[in-house]
């Protein structure tokens, strides 16, 4: 791989040169994927907890459904959200297609099942452990779900990170609903796809390294914060 040296050199130049356009692209990637992950957590974590402790008809099929939806293909989500937001679609009048908001929606749809399914697993394990205790305190199932969510908050950060990892890494959905418009909806992954199609493989790979580094830094920060929080409030 003779490209490797060139790739590393390009990556270094991009970072060292503090390329303003690159910074915008990285920031947009982070803004879109973090917002999507936040929405996915707000929606997905309660769903996961209720699936873990609840008793209602259709619960098992729902669990299977959410586990299965973890494998949602991004292009399919992209296409569905595109059809919803397109001017000819049901939500067309809002004019959201080809905006960062459309990308947030698509990624939130993609990530919610992941957060919900992983949350369910975490809470289900806790539920087995604390079930009797919570019952003897007379907690309702909803109350128990809320308690376990709070109790398991440190373990749940991994669910959120898994969701974020999926969001920041996908290209299929944001390409379709964002349109990869320069300066408006161009994010890391769509830039990498674009440079690959221009045949500039070293630049594409260099951007890939930067993306991986950004994701690693975020995970390291999350890990450190979790450790610190556990010591102080654990």
């Amino acid at each position: 791989m003779p490209e490797l040296n060139e790739t590393l050199a390009t990556a270094w130049q991009l970072v060292a040169g503090a390329d303003a356009r690159l910074a915008d692209i990285v920031l947009l990637s982070l803004r879109v994927s973090l917002t999507a992950t936040l929405i996915a957590c707000v929606v997905g974590m309660p769903i996961g907890a209720l699936l873990a402790v609840g008793r209602f008809p259709g619960r098992r099929p729902l669990i299977v459904l959410f586990n299965g939806l973890m494998g949602l293909p991004p292009v399919v989500v992209g296409l569905l959200v595109y059809l919803l937001l397109s001017r000819a679609g049901p939500l067309g009048q809002f004019g959201l297609l080809f905006t960062p908001a459309a990308m947030v929606i698509a990624q939130a749809v993609l990530v919610t099942p992941i957060v919900a399914a992983l949350t369910r697993q975490v809470i289900a394990d806790e539920w087995t452990e604390y079930r009797e205790q919570l019952r003897s305190l007379g907690a309702s199932r909803t109350r128990a779900a809320a308690t376990l969510l709070w109790d398991g908050r440190f373990s749940l950060s991994t669910s959120a990170l898994a969701g974020f990892g999926r969001a920041i890494a996908e290209v299929g959905a944001v390409m379709i609903v964002g349109g990869n418009i320069d300066g408006v909806t161009r994010v890391m992954t769509t830039t990498i796809a674009l440079e690959t199609s221009k045949g500039d493989l070293p630049l594409a790979l260099a951007l890939g390294f930067i993306l991986i580094t950004v994701v690693l830094v975020i995970n390291a920060v999350a890990y450190a914060v979790r450790g610190w929080a556990e010591r102080h409030w654990g």
């Binding site: 309660p46 679609g89 221009k198 045949g199 500039d200 493989l201």
Partner: protein
């Protein structure tokens, strides 16, 4: 929470994000165009000049011509800027476009292995294709209903090659954009029809070079069309028309002619007024 309320919530949150970012206020039009104009860098050169002159930002979504027209049919663009006359006229006849105006042309080239195993080199595109077919030399097709794909199919037909019969392992239908198809051709050392602009700005050339060029038939006309506001009321008619008027004006045509890669002019303005 019901699924509906969840959707509403996600939707509101996302809308607020967009509003907060101030994207709603900017004056812009959306142009659906082809990868050849975007990836060759033409828009990167052209649009800042127009934006400075008009104060209107142009957001380009770059797709194949077929997809670009479909996007406009759904009302997701204000202007289309593409290169497939037959498909463009169909678009107008269906009532989706107001009027087609010719803007510029560039040309296609056949790119292939420098060793030229099929002996296809020359000026004659039809003869070149016949030789590639006769030698069953590897050929990569876009296969994505783009303008370039449509042109390729027309050339095969004109060359008297019935692809349905002749297709074999030598003919690779990749279903991808110009760049990805070139990447495939480079790694397979295959022949491919490409637009000159994308080829010139393409970096991963491997052992490929231009094999056939200069045939009159290889000229590739670009047209620009305003999406019909009668079909889609939200189309930004005034600003879209301003963009069209500008690209066919002297200033716009000069800006197109001025765009060069390595001293070579890529697009030749030929708007009729």
């Amino acid at each position: 929470m019901t699924a509906r309320r969840l959707l509403c919530f996600a939707f509101t949150a996302a809308s607020m994000l967009a509003a907060a970012a101030g994207y709603a206020q900017e004056r812009f039009i959306t142009v659906s165009s082809t990868t050849s104009t975007e990836q060759s860098g033409l828009f990167g050169h052209l649009l800042p000049i127009f934006e400075k002159a008009s104060g209107i930002k142009v957001r380009v979504v770059a797709l194949g011509t077929g997809q670009a027209l479909d996007l406009a049919r759904r009302g997701d663009a204000d202007v289309v800027f593409v290169h497939d006359k037959v498909a463009e006229e169909k678009f107008i006849n269906e009532g989706f476009g107001v009027k087609r105006q010719e803007v510029m042309y560039n040309d296609f080239v056949v790119v292939g292995p420098k060793a030229d195993p099929a002996k296809a080199a020359g000026r004659d595109i039809l003869e070149g294709l016949r030789r590639i077919e006769a030698a069953k030399a590897s050929f990569v097709s876009r296969g994505d209903k783009s303008g370039t794909h449509a042109a390729e199919l027309r050339y095969w037909k004109a060359a008297g090659v019935d692809l349905d019969k002749a297709k074999g392992p030598w003919y690779r239908d990749t279903g991808s954009g110009m760049g990805p198809a070139l990447n495939t051709a480079a790694s397979m050392n295959a022949y491919i029809l490409a637009d000159r602009g994308t080829w010139l700005s393409f970096k991963n050339r491997g052992d490929l070079g231009i094999v056939v060029e200069g045939d009159q038939k290889l000229f590739n006309q670009y047209g620009v069309i305003l999406v019909n506001p009668a079909k889609h009321a939200h189309v930004k008619q005034a600003d879209g028309q301003k963009f069209i008027d500008w690209v066919v004006s002297d200033a716009g045509q000069k800006a197109i002619a001025d765009y060069k890669i390595g001293g070579e002019q890529l697009f030749f303005p030929n708007a009729k007024r």
